[in-house]
Amino acid sequence: MSKVVEISPTTRHEGHSKLVLKVNDEGIIERGDWLSITPVRGVEKLAIGKTMEQVPKIASRVCGICPIAHTLAGVEAMEASIGCEVPEDAKLLRYILQCANRMHSHALHNILSLPDMHIPGTDTKINPFSREEPVRSAALRIQRLREIAQTIGEIVGGEAIHPSNPRVGGMYTNITPRAKAKIYDLAKEGRVLAQDHMEFMISVFKDFQRRGTTVVGGVDVPIPDDFGYHNQGYMATAPVYGSSSLDENPTWYPDRFTEVRPWDWYMGEMEVSEADPNYPIGGTTPVGTKTWPQMEACTGVPLYDGQPVEVGPRARLVQFRNYDGRGAMGLQIARQMEFPETMYGIIDAVDALNTSGSVLADEIPQGDGSLGWAANEAPRGTDVHLTRVKDGRVQYFSMLVPTTWNFPTCSRALTGAPWRIAEVIVRAYDPCVSCATHMLVVDEEKRLVAQKLIQ
């Protein structure tokens, strides 16, 4: 007889989510559901009637960890709808922003993942806030990498978290030669640090996969060889940036996308039948508590070619770099492998940037209600925004955000793992939940989307 364990809320990721797990007598997960329980702020609906300038600013505030992705996807979806080409130098500035955000976000993700890991060669788990070495140096390096990335983001984007410089038609302002030189210096420092940091993090994740067991809440838990494996597909639109319906050859295909509601996909009402008060920290949900994923999930379930897919670093590496690392640690390692490219990307883009070039389109059409979409490769995966703009106002807005894609895929990846380390899988997949509370393209609209784009 399988038992039901619930971990709620899960920790060390952004937003609120929980795990509902059916486990066998050995504590191995037979079926797992990972679901968001963050209230749905409803950005897709509140956007309607607002200006095309304001909606991307609001969309940015869906997530403070990858706000740049949401800003850029939002702005570019508007541009796709109104049919506005932005100047080359504005594109370069956006590319720099994209790389800077990926660097900061991946580094932050490391802080959240580290406490499950061990100092290589020891049984000591890593507390990233401890003063002990080698942890403190690694933590300070993470902060320095983030500082470099956030500073570059601030110079180009106006603000370090929610960028204010991108706008429909390009950017408000180009940067000065002095700012350009500053970015060079920062990126060059970052390039070296990123290399060291990548190597350190990869050794830590490899160590976890090799060690065989890990202690959670006083219990020795075996780590299976196929920890966090799944058989779902991958989806990525570009190694770094993204694609949009303005592209000559777009790399995302709306007609391959469908969606089901949680009702059809998540588990039904159940009662928690196993609990561990020693599970860190605060224990799992007490026995007897009712749980009902179908009803509680705050996100829909998006499918690509009829299947949940994984998006993010590994998806990008699989699609564009022949990467084949599997499981939770394979994903973590893929993320680390993206570090160096962020700094090289910035250096190349800054090289190409003309600081006296115009960064705003001469003409910004106000839109006739055509559908446009833009996909941005956010740190955690493909972030697609779709919109219709008419007379400068948003008539329709939808966000297919990374975590929403990963929720069902990650749920599948839980199968076969001991429940006490289920959160380690979640944290490998995605630490970023509140964005995921925003999407759902209802079927009818979806068909419209697909039809329009096929025509």
């Binding site: 110079i155 106006g158 603000e159 410089n165 940067i175 002095r178 030189a181």
Partner: protein, 295 residues
């Protein structure tokens, strides 16, 4: 705090740079100090009131060369929202050490932004030199137009210099004409916010300066903060200023103190009067907002 604020020293001074003196309002203190700070790497750039498309209408500007500083020298007696650029100076302009000039109220805004950086991320430790200019009152652009074009009967375009002193507003034109009007008449044009202003000599600046107290072409200079002190000493050592002790110039510090006291006394009355500016139905007074008490 006393009406002149905290200061380490007060001197009468004039720039030794003739190019600057030609363009500057008074002793060229502000332009000379920024030029020096740029040269020495104390600042990477400065936010000043630069020229705009309209005559005598200043536009806040980030500058980083002496030529640009010269183009922005001299006083425009109308609002230049310089603080609107302090954050951007550290962003797309790429400055790590920002210099800024402002009226006393603008220097207050800077200190608030440093001490309470509500929406001014990564700015506080990048303010490298805040220079204040004395200020009795300020005018909207339209008010300045009325004063110059109606009262002084000159075209804005042809004016070379405007000055306030000895109870008069004076306009000098390119062709050598001089028109004046009594300062008293200006008061009705003053922007309302100035009527509750309690700072005349930029108490919170690193260094503040104005013409009052010193002879024509000279400036009175208060050196106030540690930072200001270091910059001033450096500039003196580099021979950038002629100086005279304050007690050896006419009209001297007493004049500054008098004007400062007059301004603060008058405006404190205005602040207090706001408390009882209106009337409730029950006959008790109804107040207007007092920014010095609470938000």
């Amino acid at each position: 705090m006393d009406v002149l604020g905290n200061y380490k020293s007060v001197i009468s001074a004039r720039s030794t740079d003739r190019d600057i003196l030609k363009k500057a309002q008074d002793g060229g203190i502000i332009t000379t100090l920024f030029a020096y700070a740029l040269e020495e790497g104390i600042i990477d750039g400065a936010v000043v009131a630069g020229p705009s498309d309209e005559p005598w209408r200043p536009k806040p500007m980030v500058v980083s060369t002496k030529a640009e500083l010269l183009a922005a020298a001299g006083t425009r007696y109308t609002i230049s929202p310089n603080i609107s650029l302090i954050k951007e100076a550290t962003r797309s302009y790429g400055l790590d050490r920002v210099g800024i000039v402002g009226t006393p109220c603008q220097i207050q805004a800077i200190r608030k932004a440093q001490l309470y950086p509500i929406g001014m991320r990564d700015v506080d430790d990048k303010i490298a030199l805040a220079l204040g200019i004395f200020c009795m009152e300020n005018l909207s652009y339209q008010a300045l137009e009325a004063i110059v074009e109606d009262h002084c009967n000159q075209k804005m375009e042809s004016v070379k210099k405007m000055d306030i002193g000895k109870g008069k507003f004076t306009v000098y034109t390119e062709r050598g004409a001089v028109s004046q009007m009594p300062l008293k008449l200006i008061h009705k044009y003053v922007q309302p916010g100035c009527n509750v202003c309690l700072d005349y000599v930029a108490n919170l600046a690193d260094i503040s300066s104005g013409s009052v107290g010193s002879p024509d072409g000279w400036s009175t200079v208060f050196v106030r903060s540690m930072k200001g002190n270091a910059v001033w000493d450096g500039a003196i050592e580099a021979g950038l200023f002629e100086t005279k002790p304050m007690d050896q110039v006419k009209p001297g510090l007493d004049m500054v103190k008098k004007l400062s006291t007059d301004k603060i006394t008058k405006n404190q009355k205005n602040v207090d009067a706001r408390k009882t500016a209106g009337l409730r139905a029950d006959g008790t007074p109804k107040g207007l907002r007092n920014p010095y008490e609470s938000p």
